[in-house]
């Protein structure tokens, strides 16, 4: 058995799967119907407990390819029905075994729609998930001792320990991830705040060589000539807590090197431009958000996973808004008015989700090629 206690006192009792333990974190829901392995290994989920709105999870097991990092970051994973009978030609391990191996606590058999509706109406809440036989009071007590999410630097906890090079391109059925060694391609530096591998793969496939740096790397290192462009990665938590990175970001913008920001990276760019970040009620987590491209007036179906957003009015004097969310009109993308800076709230690397915003990496690569 497993139990989830929420900040507002509500309690959900279900059955347990995966790792047996206790985890606390912000409880968020994701509406994507595919890609749970990618979600589990997405560092942006660090410190969170995820509820899948789709009801049957485990169908395709897990495999050796669908990793977004080398481990999992979610504290807990809550589903309506856990399917312990994977069926897919690439599957190598059941989700239960995968989660056990990676210390992710699972709960299934609850009314997930009720939980999602509660989060929707009350906003994202802290929660504690336990697969032990603990009293509600004990769990509530533990939950009360959790540090608040706002103002917390989660990034330094998960960033790369040291720089590394990355040479995998995007996945294909035929080749999987066959390494690419294009020595002539320009090299870009990625600030790792919890980067998803598909960002790196997208960069490689766009014709770039990639070197990843811990977020604590002094900015001067990234400003060296050999790096023809800078990428500010996605990552977990409150951007406002990362003042030292915001300072670095200002320098990166000033350097005139092409800069690409994604998700947390985008929020940091916004803050570095003097913008204001707000916390969304329950965030955007899904693979179906339609975003209006202000230039082409075309719609892009995007992948989103964020709890904070930059207020568009707060940066409008320095940047041009390029993308707006069609549901709630929040900011989805901007370009700097004078510097080669591209910034996106959503995830052009997808994984999981539709890949149609992947052109953004080509746009970035083009900027890099033009200026190398």
């Amino acid at each position: 058995m497993a139990v989830l206690v929420l900040e507002d006192g509500s309690i959900f009792r279900g059955k347990s799967f995966g790792y047996r333990g206790v985890a606390a974190g912000e409880v968020v829901f994701n509406t994507s119907m595919t890609g749970y392995q990618e979600e589990l290994t997405d560092p942006s989920y660090y410190g969170q407990i995820l509820v899948a709105t789709y009801t049957q999870i485990g169908n395709v097991g897990t495999n050796t390819q669908d990793y977004e990092s080398d481990k999992t970051y979610l504290g807990g994973f809550i589903v309506k029905e856990y399917i312990d009978y994977p069926s897919n030609f690439r599957s190598t391990e059941s989700l239960d075994s995968f989660m056990t191996r990676h210390n992710v606590i699972g709960m299934y058999g609850i009314d997930t729609r009720m939980l999602v509706r509660r989060i929707r109406t009350k906003g994202a809440m802290m929660g504690i998930l336990s697969s032990f036989d603990e009293s509600e009071e004990a769990l509530k007590f533990k939950l009360g001792k959790q540090p608040p999410l706002l103002g917390r630097d989660l990034v330094t906890e998960i960033t790369a320990k040291q720089p590394y090079d990355f040479d995998e391109p995007l996945w294909s059925l035929k080749d999987g991830y066959k390494s690419m060694h294009e020595k002539k391609n320009p090299l870009v530096a990625v600030y790792d705040f919890g980067v998803k591998r598909n960002i790196l793969r997208s960069l490689v496939s766009a014709g770039l060589r990639v070197r990843v740096f811990p977020c604590t790397t002094p900015v001067g290192e990234l400003l060296r000539d050999e790096y023809k462009g800078i990428v500010l990665s996605n990552g977990p938590g409150d951007p406002a807590a990362l003042s030292y990175i915001i300072e670095n970001t200002k320098e990166l913008i000033a350097s005139n090197k092409p800069v690409l920001g994604i998700c947390l990276g985008h929020q940091l760019l916004g803050l570095a431009l003097g913008g204001e970040a707000i916390k969304l009620k329950f965030g955007h987590h899904g693979a179906n958000q339609s975003v209006l491209n202000m230039k082409t007036r075309g719609i892009e179906i995007t992948v989103q996973n964020h709890g904070f957003a930059i207020k568009p009015e707060s940066i409008q004097d320095k940047a041009d808004i390029t993308h707006i969310n069609l549901n709630d009109r929040t900011l989805e993308g901007f370009v700097h008015k004078t510097r080669p800076v591209l910034s996106f709230q959503h995830h052009p690397e997808a994984s999981p989700g539709p890949r149609e915003a992947g052109y953004i990496f080509k746009e970035f690569a083009k900027l890099v090629y033009e200026r190398r």
Binding site: R113, A287, Q289, L292, I299, L342
Partner: protein, 1103 residues
């Protein structure tokens, strides 16, 4: 030029409906009048889903202020109600007729994507013949080159290869010889697909050269362009479908993904399908999504929806594209119901120039049509077959569609939705019913039977899977035999394993906490009360009582397109066993309408039409209308038809659960056909108020004994009738009243298991079969009135007065099921005296049965005497036809009457007498069912109907034939072979045809009679008389029409191949003398004058 760095300097943050200069310019203003083509009659492969899409489309266009011209020959559709279009032509869907409509209406544009393959084919024909150009009609929704690229398999293949997608290796050919060479090259099995046919007509799989030869020949003959595509088989691969939308700005989304339970090789219309796709990882799904978007672009779908099918190799993930439909389809109707995303409505708006971001999602009001739906439940569709109607048909499922309807069920898990879908089917199974008795498990014959049941795809295969699992087959083994993905098999296995858990409660108290927990979990897995009861050897009522008494009740969740991310404003609900109920019971007076469940022969769109009218009437009267139905193809399950929609099985359990929650003021059961009617007594017994005519009265009319007593009391006549409960009794009756007899089980719709017998042997054979069919219900034995005229009457009663809706005279004689018979309103041969007498009897019966609402009575007239054949105090299949004929919405009036309104107050007090004639003709499914005899009888076989309207009977009949795609010849040779009793009757017809310039060939006996009457005739051999025979002539294209009436089983058998070849070569054929006479009159009228077209709105004005 860099896209992003050149973003607008002055950012325009407005996101909907605006362009750069701030002006609202969403739609095209040059289009003021649009013509819409419907799909015509319901046939296998094209059913009421196109009424659903067409109705949505009409509504959307009218809301935009566009004038709508609609052409559809099917009167049983909501879309052809006069208020849905500005001009409604209930006319044959045929290029010549459409040209006349275009000439009369001069529409700006034609929208051909809402009426299935029929409408699309018409668009191609009108474009190719230059009509569209001649009248300056723009094709919207799909361009002609797009249609061709998508529909022509060779062009499609080339397009796919161009964008780097794989298609099965294939070749397109016009000749058998070339086909044979291809098959030898690629090896077997080979799939044969005729070009430009509907629902995969003529498509088949050949496993050897012999089969191949036959099937290619057949395929070439059914293709309008005489071409077939031969295709490498991907049998056993997994099949997926994506429902796509794309707008003129190249915005493209996936509305829904669908995974087929049945692997490749079975037409998707005959497959069990599941939404969303279950066994793809995100990487594989996104590859499919990208491929689909590429296909939309390459084929050039610029403003509308499409369905694209893919096959995936389960071993290595290889993906091939199978086909696409560049229009709304059965799958898109399913996808709309499965997600809440109204594909037809959005596609219509795209066609008139909107883009996806300009269209608001009705459900959330917050998101746009560009938001890809996400769902938090599982949808299962199961097709409904009618093989019990066609014992000669092969029920093996192949690439040619054979199902006549479908059900959809929504559950939070596949297990739950599957079991809900099974009980929605009304096939007698309330769950994974056994095909094999437990005691028989270990015999080798049974083992063989089960393996055969697994290997051969059929409607029963799902149940054989259950038996195989009970017998201990491993999932891998079942997968080996069926190629069904183990994921699905495992889920079924969990259901089967849980049966043992439930069975373990046998003999224990069911109200123990442990028992309640098991029952609760079982309910969560979708087990029906009735199925649980059968496992426990107890009554359904016991389970229900224990369950509700212990708080095990369903909650209702909303279908909201967004997985609860946004609030939903439309109460489109399904049940599940969880914690939070989202169905808010209103303060208003509520009435529940029970729908008619899956389409089947005898119960189809006509009843859905009535249910929709009931809902409209309730809303007009200020009641909250609540619809319960399980059929995704319908208008009744559109989320904005009723105030509240419960997409649920129409079973006692599921209805009562809703009644318990809603406590409605009343329930309407008389519009949904047999499905709700069967429940009405139990529902009434449970304390629900059934509105209108009481179930007691309905029962009195259905129960032969009570009904006979009633007629005796009223001094009305019926054919001598008895009931028999045994073979002996039936023989005794037969010998007393004399043959022929008409036999039928009580309580049936569509004449199921009804037969005319001419002697003792046939009687005995029937009784032995039939008693099984209807278990303990007695068999009705009536004297059959040979050669009588049959009359159908629909009337409405408010308790004070009875008003005749329409008196219809059947063209075929009594003995042909009324659903299969053509009929004329008003009657074409009755004397005033007889119509008065029929009206009188109708009034007497309606009063005697205390009818409040509708009543349908079938009469037979023989020798100027009126006999009552059947009385149904409820909506009949002919209600939409009569309503369209007289321009009065009878079902709507009946609903208001049921709520207490009086006919007088509503201004409907006397029969409408029209100055035009309407003819209804039945449309039969034989072309889809090889091997089935086409002869008509008391068992209903038609799937749909059309209506012909004109000033004379002959022209109205001619239109009805044209509308059912029967092309009456104006010259050529007519074959005549009639039974002895018809020989004199055929003479004037033959004489007349001869005078019109036709040549006549006849079989020996018929020829003798005709020659004797001075008619020049060529004699032709019957098939049994040796070659060359009549079938040879048909095959050689020498015959323009056939008249062939038969008597007795031998003669029917002998002439079988004639009727079958007539179907194959689409030659008009008439199997009754009355039909032949009507055809002759129609030909005469066609030769003497041209067909004209009139919108019904003009007709009603003259009434």
């Amino acid at each position: 030029m860099l896209l992003l760095s050149n973003a607008l300097r002055k950012t325009d943050l407005r996101t909907d409906g605006y362009r750069n200069n701030g002006e609202l310019m969403p739609k095209r203003r040059d289009i003021k009048k649009i013509m819409l083509i419907g799909s015509g009659p319901i046939v296998i492969g094209q059913a009421s889903e196109f009424d659903y899409s067409g109705t949505q489309s009409c509504k959307a266009l009218k809301l935009e202020g566009i004038e709508v011209v609609l052409v559809n020959s099917n009167p049983a559709t909501i879309m052809t109600d006069p208020e849905f279009a500005d001009k409604t032509y209930i006319e044959p869907i045929n290029p010549d007729i459409l040209k006349k409509v275009i000439a009369a209406e001069r529409p700006d544009a034609l929208l051909p994507t809402m009426g299935g393959q029929t409408a699309l084919n018409m668009a191609v024909a009108l474009s190719d013949s230059g009509v569209l150009k001649q009248y300056g009609v723009e094709l919207i929704g799909a361009r002609i080159d797009t249609i061709k690229k998508a529909e022509d398999r060779e062009m499609f293949k080339v397009s796919m290869e161009k964008i780097g997608l794989k298609v099965p290796f294939s070749k397109y050919t016009h000749s058998k010889e070339e086909a044979m060479r291809f098959a030898r090259d690629i090896g077997f099995p080979v799939i044969i697909r005729p070009s430009f046919t509907l629902g995969g007509t003529g498509a088949s799989v050949a496993y050897n050269i012999e089969e191949f030869e036959d099937k290619v020949e057949y395929g070439l003959s059914v293709s309008p362009s005489h071409e077939v595509l031969l295709e490498e088989s991907v049998l056993g691969w997994k099949e997926f479908e994506l429902e796509m939308m794309r707008d003129k700005n190249d915005n493209c989304i996936v509305v829904c993904s669908i995974e087929n339970f049945d692997p490749m090789g079975i037409h998707t219309g005959d497959s069990i399908t599941i939404a969303p796709a279950q066994t793809l990882t995100d990487k594989e799904y996104q590859s499919m999504r990208n491929a689909a978007i590429k296909i939309m672009r390459e084929i050039g779908i610029e403003s509308g929806g499409s369905n694209i099918q893919f096959a995936v190799n389960p071993v290595n993930g290889d993906m091939v594209v199978i086909e696409m439909n560049p229009r709304v389809s059965r799958s898109s109707a399913l996808a709309s119901k499965a997600t809440g995303y109204p594909i037809a409505k959005v596609a219509t708006k795209l066609a008139i120039g909107y883009t996806l971001d300009e269209i608001t999602n009705d459900i959330t009001k917050n998101t746009k049509a560009s938001f890809e739906p996400t769902i938090d439940y599982v949808v299962t569709k199961i097709p409904k077959f009618a093989f019990e109607k066609f014992p000669q048909a092969d029920d093996t499922l192949t690439t040619q569609m054979k199902s006549v309807g479908e059900v959809m069920a929504i559950g939070r898990t596949f297990k739950e939705s599957l079991q809900k879908a099974i009980r929605s089917l009304e096939s007698g199974a309330s769950g994974m019913a056994r095909r094999i008795k437990r005691d028989d498990y270990n015999t080798s014959a049974v083992l063989d039977k089960v393996i055969e049941g697994l290997k051969r795809p059929s409607p029963d295969r799902l149940f054989y899977i259950g038996d195989a699992l009970r017998m201990g087959f491993a999932i891998e083994e079942i997968h080996k035999y069926t190629a069904i993905d183990p994921w699905f098999l495992n889920n079924i296995s969990e259901i089967i394993r849980y049966e043992d858990r439930i069975s373990s409660l046998r003999g224990y108290s069911l109200s123990d906490a442990e028992a309640i927990k098991i029952i609760r979990d079982a309910k969560g897995m979708g087990f029906a009360d009735r199925y649980i009861a059968s496992l426990l050897g107890t009554a359904e009522s016991v389970i229900r009582k224990v369950r509700t008494g212990n708080g095990v009740k369903p909650v209702y969740k909303v279908v909201d397109t967004c997985g609860a991310e946004f609030e939903a404003y439309t109460p489109y609900l399904y049940s599940t066993y969880e914690d939070e109920n989202e169905s808010v019971v209103s303060q208003r007076k509520r009435v529940v309408i029970l729908g008619s469940g899956p389409n089947r022969i005898g119960q189809g769109i006509e009843f859905d039409y009535c249910c929709v009218h009931a809902s409209f009437a309730l809303r007009e009267e200020g009641y909250e209308s609540i619809m319960i139905n399980s059929n995704p193809e319908t208008v009744s399950t559109d989320y904005d038809t009723s105030d509240k929609l419960y997409f649920e099985p129409v079973t006692y359990e599921d209805v009562m659960n809703i009644v318990d929650l809603e406590s409605p003021y009343g329930l309407i059961v008389q519009f949904g056909g047999q499905t709700p009617l069967k429940l009405s007594k139990r529902l009434e017994a449970a304390g629900v108020q059934v509105l209108g005519t009481s179930p007691e009265s309905i029962d009195m009319a259905e129960d032969r004994k009570r009904f006979r007593e009633l007629l005796e009391r009223l001094q009305l006549r019926q054919p001598t009738s008895y009931t028999a409960t045994s073979v002996e009794e039936a023989i005794r009756i037969g010998n007393t009243i004399g043959f022929p007899l008409i036999l039928r089980p009580s309580y049936v719709l569509g004449g199921r298991a009804m037969e005319i017998v001419y002697d003792n042997d046939e009687l005995i054979e029937y009784m032995e079969k039939a008693v099984n069919v209807s278990e303990d219900k007695p068999v009705l034995v009536d004297k059959f009135l040979d050669g009588a005229t049959e009359i159908d009457v629909d009337a409405i009663s408010d308790g004070d007065i009875v008003v005749i809706g329409g008196i219809m005279e059947h063209i075929e004689e009594a003995g042909i099921h009324s659903g299969d018979s053509a009929c004329s309103l008003p009657p074409f041969s009755l004397s005033q005296h007889l119509t008065d007498e029929i009206s009188r009897q109708t009034r007497i019966l309606a009063k005697a049965l205390n009818v409040i609402g509708l009543i349908n009575i079938q009469y037979a007239i023989k020798d100027n005497e009126v006999y009552i054949l059947e009385v149904n105090p409820r909506a009949s299949r002919t209600i939409p036809f009569v309503s369209k004929s007289i321009g009065v919405p009878l079902a709507k009036l009946a609903t208001k009457v049921m709520l207490g309104r009086k006919l007088k107050d509503m201004g409907f007090t006397k029969e409408v007498i029209t100055d035009y004639i309407t003819v209804k003709e039945a449309v039969l499914p034989f072309v889809k069912l090889p091997g089935v005899d086409t002869i008509l009888g008391p068992e209903m076989k038609s799937t749909g109907e059309v209506m012909g309207i004109d000033r004379t009977f002959a022209l109205a009949f001619a239109k009805s034939q044209l509308a059912s795609n029967i092309l009456l010849p104006l010259k050529g040779t007519i074959f005549i072979s009639v039974k002895d009793t018809d020989k004199l009757l055929i003479v004037p017809i033959a004489k007349g045809l001869k005078k019109l310039g036709f040549s006549i060939v006849a079989t020996r006996g018929t020829a003798q009679v005709l020659t004797a009457s001075g008619i020049e005739v060529r004699v032709v051999n019957k098939v049994v008389e040796g070659r060359p025979h009549i079938v040879d002539l048909i095959k050689n294209g020498e015959i323009a029409m056939l008249i062939n009436t038969t008597f007795g089983k031998k003669s029917i058998k002998d002439s079988y191949s004639i009727r079958r070849s007539a179907i194959t070569y689409n030659i008009p054929y008439y199997t009754t003398i009355e039909g032949a006479d009507a055809a002759y009159k129609a030909i005469l009228a066609l030769i003497n004058g041209d067909i004209t077209v009139t919108p019904i709105q003009n007709l009603y004005k003259t009434v």
